[in-house]
């Protein structure tokens, strides 16, 4: 069934917290990094495929919203889905939750270009990616 998949699960380390006493914004993006590996793998872009076919994604646009701060030791998980696609891009929606409270802490919409890693250029999505996308797509309206 199409929908969000769990793409990251972890916890907030003390060293990830800043002088404000909460997780610094750079580590929210680290969660997206983990999540992107998970959802890209589900789309067929596994490390083997990356090495063999020299394909990958590069982020080109990101919109983020922070709803609730995360403190040291908080347990967290992220869910991700695809909300849009074009010939050369996929747009991912990532939602980060406080796992103990269930409260949405952060969400980000990220558009990534599909790349030829040798030519370092955006290229159309490959045939081995396209069939996998439908199981990862959600209606953009439900993603808000």
């Amino acid at each position: 069934m199409p929908g969000y998949l769990e793409s990251y699960r972890g916890c907030v380390l003390a060293r990830e917290c800043d002088i404000m006493g909460h997780m610094n914004i750079q580590f929210y993006t680290a969660c997206i990094g983990h999540a992107t590996t998970t959802i890209a793998g589900a789309a067929g872009l596994t490390p083997d495929v990356i090495q063999t076919h020299k394909r990958g994604f590069a982020a080109v646009e990101q919109t983020s919203k922070y709803y609730a701060e995360l403190l040291a030791d908080d347990i967290i998980h992220m869910e991700s889905a695809i909300v849009a696609s074009s010939t050369k891009t996929l747009t991912f929606h990532h939602r980060l939750f406080n796992s103990a409270s269930g409260v949405l802490s952060f969400e980000a919409t990220m558009t990534s270009a599909y790349m030829d890693l040798e030519k370092r250029k955006a290229i159309p999505l490959d045939h081995f990616i396209l069939p996998n996308l439908k199981n990862l797509q959600v209606d953009p309206e439900t993603a808000q």
């Binding site: 769990e6 972890g10 003390a14 030791d73």
Partner: protein, 306 residues
Amino acid sequence: MSDLLSPKLIPGFRGAVETWECDQMLHMNVQFYMSKASASFAHLQNALGLTPARIRKEKKALAFQSLRIQYKSEMRMGESMHGFSGIRSVSGDIVTGFIHLFDSRKNVLSGVYEFTARYTDLLSGEKLSLPAHVRDRAAAFVDEHSDQYLPAPMKCMIMPATHLDHMFETSRSAVDVWECDAYSNMEMQPIVGRFSDAAGHVMGRVGMTREMQKERNLGSAALDYYTEFHSPVKVATSLILKSALLDRKPKNFIFGHIMINADTNKIVSNTTVLGCYFDMTARKSVPLPLEYMSIPEEQLLRFQLA
């Protein structure tokens, strides 16, 4: 959102192997398995009622007393991992459980952590009785989990928490702030990292330098750990590791380590590590280098423990 088959299993870490988590053996270093297992342990504690908010308020949580770790398949950069944990028993104040980490793409078990844990004051390190609310929650999760992998006892002598002849210094350091949790206790990841770093020194003492490994196209890998923790390690503590070759087998080396608080000279943890050499191209284990066999029997720690 979980694909767990049993409601008594608790979802744990999910994410990727970062490039910077991989060492010169071209696989994820043991300390980063540990950081992923620690994340799983935080989720396990939450399931037992030890929520992050409660831990912050009461400053008490479960802390490992012993850890048996097995590395069953190597993880390479960019791979995806996921895991779960479970409680096998609660006996007295000891909680016994496990954490499993999988290679998600191959669906192969990669990291295994069998633990005993005690409820502990995170500031003083004092061992406490298990609170009734945690005991009740844990009881709901207790299961032998007979369908889940359970390691057999280690097939070697275990390094005790004691100073032995022929042990030599393999690490000397202080515990940095960024290696600690919110209660100034050293995290598990850098503890395992210290043991990992010490391995090269033991190999060098045996006569196998990094250069020789490179010339022979050999890598080395830990396969099996057993660690006992005797007291928390606080920020700024001066630490010394002493290590030696505990034993040798046709395809395995066994190292013994003790971690010492240099200010008090007390042993804070002791570890037994069984590992192997492998061909860096074939990624298959090979017989132990002959240098190990030239070590006199009486210099093996086993000789003193017999």
